[in-house]
């Protein structure tokens, strides 16, 4: 007869760790990490990308890092289209800045509405002891008990796998976790060097008749350029200085407070002001060790062509759509989430193919210790007849 001997030494179908998934595979089946002995200078808070070797920083939200391809590449611009009341986009900006503080990066915060000090006072406190547990597969291991209604009879090998992979995270401890209910201690904040730009306090400079930019954008650009050059992020200072990254957080560009009537009019008078600014900003970013996050109140912008141009002029672009105030708030489909996240654009950085998330149905939820971004899955409700005249969809967790 045949002896049934099973040998299992290597990793089989049940993965325990996740890394950024190669395209095409829905489950991560390898914990492979490229070991590169390259001459990449190791800057705290960064790591090389496994796809194309670019230097990445964390956005502060591990799920967001996963969605945009492992992290934010240094020298690129992340555009966030604000939700209606600017609650979650502001939260993401705070996560970004908090991550900068925790990693020891320099910060540059620009705002026209609230003073940057106020934004910095609201940064969430990092959870410095060990990991807030990401929903991982370890949680779902169940004993294979025949009385357990969840245990499967025939497909029992797949018992411990979650039904769908909802949580998106990378395995390496690249990002940190933050507790939203507490604010960051002042002494942690003081350790970082922070530059601020508050529009009402800035002297108005002349742009010259040829520049399509408004005064506000011109002075912001000048200020950013000045800081980058003075602090040596563009390589101006000699090599002896320890390399660091600068994070730019620009709040609510394009709103009326920046002197731009992009949001009020279909045909704005300075139609190219913001686009010129973004073009120049990206040039500055590419030539220095900086990374920028810009939030834009896109729900106020009337002209879709301009919004398209703005998206093209940034590298990574995501949009947040909050359920608050819409009829989706009471929709049972979305009861577990606070809003939808749309990935508008992912950059091709020195490569032909970019890393895109597997699914486009992403929803986010702001929990106290984590900002989770999950894939919404829908499936047929079991009760309804197969040749259904009435079919309802429920999210599958």
């Amino acid at each position: 007869g045949t002896a049934s001997a099973v040998c299992f030494g290597g990793s089989m179908a049940a993965p325990m760790k996740n890394t950024s998934a190669p395209a095409g595979l829905s489950f991560n089946s390898t914990s492979f990490q490229k070991k590169s002995r390259s001459k990449l200078v190791s800057i705290p808070g960064t790591r090389p990308s496994v796809q194309n070797g670019q230097l990445l920083v964390s956005t502060g939200v591990t799920s967001l890092d996963y969605v945009i391809g492992g992290g934010l590449a240094v020298g690129t611009l992340l555009l966030i289209e604000e939700d209606r009341y600017d609650s979650y986009s502001r939260m993401l900006l705070k996560y970004f800045l908090a991550e900068g503080v925790v990693c020891g990066h320099e910060l540059f915060v620009a705002s026209a509405w609230d003073h940057p000090d106020e934004i910095l006072q609201e940064l969430p406190a990092p959870i410095l002891d060990d990991v807030a547990s990401v929903t991982s597969m370890e949680d779902q291991a169940q004993s294979c008990d025949p009385d357990n209604p969840e245990s499967m009879k025939i497909a029992w090998r797949y018992q411990n796998l979650p039904k769908v992979q909802t949580a998106l995270a990378s395995s390496a401890r690249f990002g940190h976790y933050y507790d939203v209910s507490k604010t960051m201690d002042a002494d942690i904040l003081q350790r970082s060097k922070i530059h601020m730009f508050f529009l009402p306090e800035e002297a108005h400079s002349e742009t010259g008749a040829l520049s399509p930019m408004t005064e506000a954008y011109a002075s912001l650009l000048k200020s950013i350029h000045g800081v980058i050059h003075k602090e040596g992020f563009d390589g101006a200072t000699p090599q002896s200085k320890v390399r660091n990254i600068m994070r730019l957080g620009l709040h609510s560009l394009g709103s009326t407070l920046w002197g731009d009537d992009l949001c009020c009019r279909e045909k704005p008078t300075h139609g190219h002001a913001l686009t010129t600014f973004l073009y120049a900003l990206r040039g500055l970013l590419r030539s220095s060790l900086t990374v920028a996050m810009v939030t834009i109140p896109s729900h106020l912008i009337q002209n879709r062509a301009v919004m398209g141009r703005i998206t093209r002029l940034s590298d990574t672009a995501i949009a947040l759509e909050s359920f608050r105030g819409s009829d989706r708030e009471t929709n049972p489909l979305y009861k577990d989430y606070h809003g939808l996240l749309h990935v508008r654009q992912v950059p091709h950085l020195n490569c032909l193919v970019c890393e895109v998330p597997d699914s486009k149905d992403l929803a986010f939820k702001l929990k106290r210790k984590q900002f989770t971004i999950e894939v919404i899955h829908f499936f047929f409700q079991k009760k309804n007849p197969f040749f259904g005249f009435s079919v309802s969809f429920l999210p599958l967790k």
Binding site: A5, V6, A14, Y85, E122, T256, C263, C264
Partner: protein, 298 residues
């Protein structure tokens, strides 16, 4: 508590309330009742009036309340054509306003009521108005700014832009029930929390607001109806059902690759352990503990 009387005292920023109304329901009554309530709270109220006259705004106020209501008349000569204006639309900028507001030496910062923002938006760029409001907010000369905006006079983008700046926006609409009207309030806190309320209210003759009822959000939620389970095995020309004995027999069939409990749990929880070999002999196997190589003479 009255819906407009509940304003927060925030240390840094000045809360601003914009009431949007339309031709269907005039928000001016609500504005007047707000002014009255603020005066009763011993606050100084500055009113920039463009649309109604001073007499109408004052109504029948008396005594100390009337003293604390300072009306800046932009109604008689709003653009200064007759050179007899006390306040013109062009004076709506932060420097002039701050000067006007600081004229009265009061211990508390006053409340500024703008009647109406729509009027100002017709004479100024929305960007300039937003900037003036922002400067006023940060200047510290004023504690609360309340503005009336007629939403049907402007395109939605302008209304949205201006509303975006406000801490709270109250949108008014009439109902079919006479004096009652519905007010949708959206409030934004500093921490980013947004609350929305919908209330039915009416204004009495003496300009007090009575809230009748909050329109409950639960009523709007669709109740999920339990659809009756239709049995897919009914009404078929072939039999899909199982009798009890048939079901028992089905359960008893031993499936291939059904392992013993230890083997199953070992496979499932292999985790950190290194490879192990578990051998479970089949029914046909001849499992002999003796080493078959024992009798080899090597």
């Amino acid at each position: 508590p009255s819906i407009v009387a509940s304003h927060e005292r925030v240390a840094f920023s000045v809360p601003s309330y914009f009431t949007t109304n339309s031709v269907h329901y005039s928000g001016r009554c609500l504005l007047k009742s707000y002014i009255r309530a603020a005066l009763k709270r011993d606050e100084v109220v500055h009113v920039l009036g463009f649309e109604v006259s001073e007499e109408e705004t004052r109504g029948d106020l008396d005594g100390s309340c009337a003293e604390r209501l300072l009306f800046h008349d932009g109604y008689k000569d709003p653009l200064g054509w007759r050179k007899s204006a006390s306040f013109t639309a062009h004076q709506f900028n932060s420097q002039d306003l701050t000067r006007i507001l600081r004229q009265t030496q009061q211990p508390k910062a006053p409340v500024l009521v703008i009647d109406s923002l729509s009027w100002l938006l017709r004479h100024h760029d929305p960007v300039a108005i937003c900037r003036s409001l922002q400067e006023l907010r940060r200047g510290g000369a004023v504690r609360t700014i309340v503005g009336l905006l007629h939403s049907d006079l402007h395109n939605t983008s302008t209304v949205d832009c201006v509303s975006h700046l406000a801490t709270a926006v109250v949108t008014l609409a009439p109902t079919s029930q006479g004096p009652l009207a519905v007010a949708k309030t959206t409030k934004r806190t500093k921490s980013g929390k947004v609350t929305q309320d919908e209330e039915l209210f009416s204004i009495q003759g003496d300009l007090t607001v009575t809230i009748h009822r909050t329109v409950s959000q639960a009523g709007k939620k669709q109740t999920e109806q339990e659809s009756s389970e239709a049995d897919p095995t009914a009404n078929l020309t072939f039999n899909l059902r199982l009798s009890d004995t048939e079901r028992e027999a089905k359960e008893k069939v031993s499936l291939p690759f059904v392992f013993s409990q230890e083997k199953k749990s070992a496979l499932l929880h292999k985790g950190q352990r290194s490879g192990r070999i578990l051998y479970v002999p089949d029914a046909n196997d001849d499992f002999d503990q003796e080493d078959p190589d024992d009798d080899l003479d090597v």
